[in-house]
C-alpha cells in the first residue's frame, strides 16, 4: 500500500466516523424527545416499571456521550496520523 493509498483509506475511515457521529447525534435527539414524552407520561409514578423506565432512559442518555467521545478520539488519532505522514 502506498502512502497515498494509506491516506485515502484513512480518510474513508474518517468519513465513516462522520456518518457514525451524525447517526449517534440523531439517535440522541430522538432519545431526548422520547424521554421528555415518557417522563411526562410516567408522572411521578412509583411503580416498578416506571422507575425502571426512568433509569433505562438515563443510562441510554449517558451512553450517547460515551459513544461520541470514542468517535472523537478515533477521529483525533486518524487526523494526527495523517499529519505525521504529511
Amino acid at each position: 500500500m502506498t502512502i497515498g493509498d494509506v491516506k485515502a483509506t484513512i480518510r474513508k475511515g474518517d468519513h465513516a466516523l462522520d456518518n457514525a457521529r451524525m447517526s449517534i447525534e440523531k439517535a440522541g435527539a430522538k432519545l431526548a424527545d422520547a424521554t421528555a414524552l415518557a417522563i411526562a407520561a410516567l408522572h411521578d409514578s412509583e411503580r416498578g416499571e416506571a422507575e425502571q423506565s426512568r433509569q433505562a432512559l438515563r443510562e441510554a442518555a449517558d451512553e450517547v456521550e460515551l459513544v461520541l467521545r470514542r468517535i472523537e478520539a478515533a477521529k483525533d488519532h486518524a487526523a494526527a496520523y495523517l499529519a505525521t505522514i504529511g
Binding site: 494509506v6 475511515g13 430522538k30 478520539a73 494526527a80
Partner: protein
C-alpha cells in the same frame, strides 16, 4: 397532572415509537463505526504507529458502544412498554423485544436516504438562506394567517371540551393523538409566539386608548375647571 389515561397511553406510545427509531439509528452508527474500524485496520497493515493503532482501537470501541446504546434504548423501550401495559393492559401490543432492535434492510435504507438528503440540505443551506431573505415579506403575510389560526386555536371551536378522551384507551386512537401532539408541537410553539405578539400589540393598543381616555378625562376636568369657576365667579 390531570391527563386522562388515554392521553398517558398516547404519550407512552409516541415515546415507544421514537425509541424504536432511535435504536435503529444507533444500529446504523454501529455499522458506520465498524466500517471506519475496517478502513483503519486496513491502513494499519504492517504499521505500529501509536496514532494509527489508537484510531483502530477507538473506532472499535465506538462501534461496541454504539451497539450498547442501541441495546440500552431498546431496553428502555421495553420498560416503557411494560409500564404502558401495566397501567392500560394491551396498550403496547407491538412491544418489540430487545433483539428486534436490529433494523431491517428497509429501515437502514430509509435511514441512509434520510441522511443523504440531510447532507444535501446542508449543502444548499446558504442558497436557501439567500432565498429566505427574499421570502421574508411573504412570511410576514403568513404570520398574519398564523395569527388568525392561533385565535381559532385559543377559541377552540372544534372538538367538544370535556373528558372526551377519558375512554380512549384503545391503542388505535392513542398513537394518532400522540402523533398529532408531536407533529403540532412546533407549530403550536410558533402560534404561541404569534399569540404573544398579538397580545402585546393588543396591550399596546389598550394602553394607548387608556391614555387617550385619561387625556380626555383631564381635558374634561380642565374644561370643568374652566366652566366651574365661571358660575362661582358669577356668585361671588
Amino acid at each position: 397532572m390531570s391527563g386522562s389515561l388515554g392521553e398517558v397511553v398516547a404519550q407512552l406510545r409516541s415515546a415507544l415509537d421514537t425509541l424504536h427509531s432511535a435504536a435503529v439509528v444507533a444500529r446504523r452508527a454501529q455499522a458506520d463505526a465498524g466500517q471506519a474500524n475496517a478502513h483503519f485496520t486496513d491502513a494499519a497493515q504492517g504499521s505500529t504507529h501509536p496514532e494509527l493503532t489508537g484510531a483502530v482501537t477507538e473506532s472499535r470501541t465506538a462501534g461496541e458502544k454504539a451497539g450498547k446504546l442501541a441495546r440500552l434504548i431498546s431496553e428502555a423501550a421495553d420498560s416503557v412498554g411494560a409500564y404502558s401495559n401495566a397501567v392500560a393492559p394491551g396498550s403496547a401490543p407491538n412491544m418489540q423485544p430487545s433483539e428486534s432492535a436490529t433494523p431491517s434492510g428497509e429501515d437502514l435504507l430509509a435511514e441512509t436516504a434520510e441522511r443523504d438528503s440531510a447532507r444535501k440540505n446542508v449543502a444548499s443551506f446558504l442558497s436557501t438562506m439567500t432565498r429566505k431573505v427574499e421570502d421574508v415579506q411573504e412570511n410576514t403575510q403568513k404570520s398574519v394567517a398564523a395569527a388568525r389560526e392561533a385565535f381559532t386555536i385559543i377559541r377552540g371551536p372544534q372538538g367538544p371540551p370535556g373528558p372526551q378522551q377519558a375512554g380512549t384507551t384503545s391503542p388505535t386512537v392513542g398513537p394518532t393523538v400522540g402523533q398529532r401532539l408531536l407533529n403540532e408541537a412546533p407549530d403550536a410553539a410558533g402560534h404561541l409566539v404569534v399569540v404573544g405578539l398579538v397580545a402585546s400589540i393588543a396591550l399596546h393598543r389598550s394602553v394607548q386608548s387608556i391614555r387617550k381616555g385619561i387625556a380626555r378625562l383631564r381635558d374634561r376636568e380642565r374644561t370643568d375647571r374652566v366652566q366651574r369657576p365661571d358660575p362661582r365667579d358669577g356668585t361671588t
